[in-house]
Amino acid sequence: MKAVILGGTTGIGRAIARRLAERGDSVFLLARELDDLTRSAEDLTARHPKREPVGHALCDLERPEGFAAALDAADAALGGFDAVIVTAGLFATQDALEADIEFTRRLVTVNYANTVVFCEHARKRLLTRGGGRLAVFSSVAGDRGRKPVAIYGSSKAGLSVYLEALDHKFHAQGLSVLCVKPGFVKTGMTAGLKPPPFAGDPEQVARDVVRAMDRRRPMLYTPGMWALVMLVIRWLPRFVMRKINF
């Protein structure tokens, strides 16, 4: 794979970038801060005995005007990428979002609108060269309207529907779209929250994601246990959902 990773400097993105770099795939990093990017690029470069220095460019999901240039830089550095991975996004608890309307605006804009715009840029580039792989992080929170993730979950629900439709529409043209739905994963994003049962770690999720990309799967629940949990949740009647606090 020749993969561009938006959000590849931290958390699950970091773990995916490492996994790809260590097995010899080419990687290009996109993130918001230059110092963070250079350190992560150096880390990836050192993880493989024979590799060219890993490239990087600034890209911020809050600044859609920069998406095209960032992807062009990745294209030039990789000699044409064939995979795009998006792990970046914003998160806050429901309580924090309810208390901060401006952050709510930013979060839904980044997680839904701007992520869709970024994917459109990436999709067009991939399709011009006969397809490839697009893997984007949605969330189990988008599967059902739930009290603790009302706002965050809705931003991911929109994204999940977009990704599913993208896969239906362009699959025949060689583009595989993977919608990743992680459950609770112990990363910097969730630091400070109490991990529920079946909480995953970034390395485990990265392994699942890379495998699903290799197999061109359209959807992935990770850790796997969440597929079962969400199956139950999706079928719970409304009156039950109204009662429980999950």
């Binding site: 970091r14 963070d36 350190r39 150096e42 880390d43 050192a46 993880r47 005995p49 910097g188």
Partner: protein, 443 residues
Amino acid sequence: MNPRTTPTLSGWGRLPAPGVEKLSEDLERLTRGAALTRGLGRSYGDSSLPAKADDLVACSRMADRILGFDPETGVLRAEAGFSLVELNRLFMPRGWFSPVTPGTKFVTLGGMVASDVHGKNHHVEGCFGAHVRSLRMRLADDSIVDCGPEQEPELFDATVGGMGLTGHILEVEFTLARIPSRWIHMESERMPSIDEFLAGLGRAAPAFPMTMGWIDCLHRGRSMGRGILMAGRWAEASEAGELAPRAAHPLTMPVDLPNLAINDLTVAAFNALYYWKHLRRRATTLVAPDPFFYPLDAILEWNRVYGPRGFTQYQCVIPRQAGAPAVREFMDLLTKLGGASPLCVIKDCGPEGRGMLSFPLEGTSIAVDMAVSPEIQSIVDRLNEFVIAAGGRIYLTKDRFTRPEHYRAMEPRLERFLAAREKYDPHRRLRSGQSVRLLGDVA
């Protein structure tokens, strides 16, 4: 406060203290205003525990990037949370290994510096700190400085083995060692008594870069201190062949065993089995690095065998001048005081390093696990009194029960360390449970 819901942190010995750790990939930002940084929490006692429940404890675990590696010289620079597990996984296949490794690979570089860890090769290579070229640190006043053996040497010497009390270690640069293969040539020998053991260690030290011994600490009388001496060196490529060691698949201890699982009977049975499993008196084998360096890492969370009561490790070094009789007397005292333990390790240490509070000094180091019991304080006191009289000292990384007056009595270098601390942290912003207990910091 409800003890069931109050969040706690604990060291490897599982005695908890109220507190929480903050995690982030950005250690530089995370350590601003923090009282303490901890890594993977493998120190046994209270050195990685907060002095107060609301002290900000930064956890370095997510700050784990390699910042540069020079394949010509072996110089590696990484963030402080980079672990030895990752180092081994990535660099052993490329012919490099940590110059010094402790008995577990679940430690971070920052922790290795703060504890100035030593390993089986101490008599040849010294402590980890001897191989460190540079540290980037956040000091108590929130400034960020670089130090090393030549740059800010006072800060460097106070930090190496300084238990995190001089500043937060952000980045570590050190030199890896070249290894000729991924196998260890090991010679092991059954030792019927402590005197033969000491003689055996003495013989092995000049011949092998790595030595250590396991002691059956329940056996008394003429065969007191019997055990197995292990000496090794990296196998040459020609001896090792092409095969790579199989990747280890560790088991996990799934539950706490009951407190009584470790008792005189079970330990005596384990020790006898372990001793007599070594059928021939002498054996030469080719072993993989993992079982050689990290036998206990084969079972994740093995500390749960001691049960919910928790445990501690007593590790001291008896100086060479005190001689073999002192070591024999110490073993005699140790076996008399009881404390059934399947783990008792003996090792010859080389000369003292430059870290102001670094543990090893030329002599014999003995480490023994002990379950926490109502008698633990008096056992540690008795052992410490012996060690003070012999001119030895204890290892802070393992300690939870030493009294401040005992520590002062065994640590003539403390004044120098305190002076450095006065200079770099006059308001004692950096502190731990251990610094409150031993150095009188205010909680």
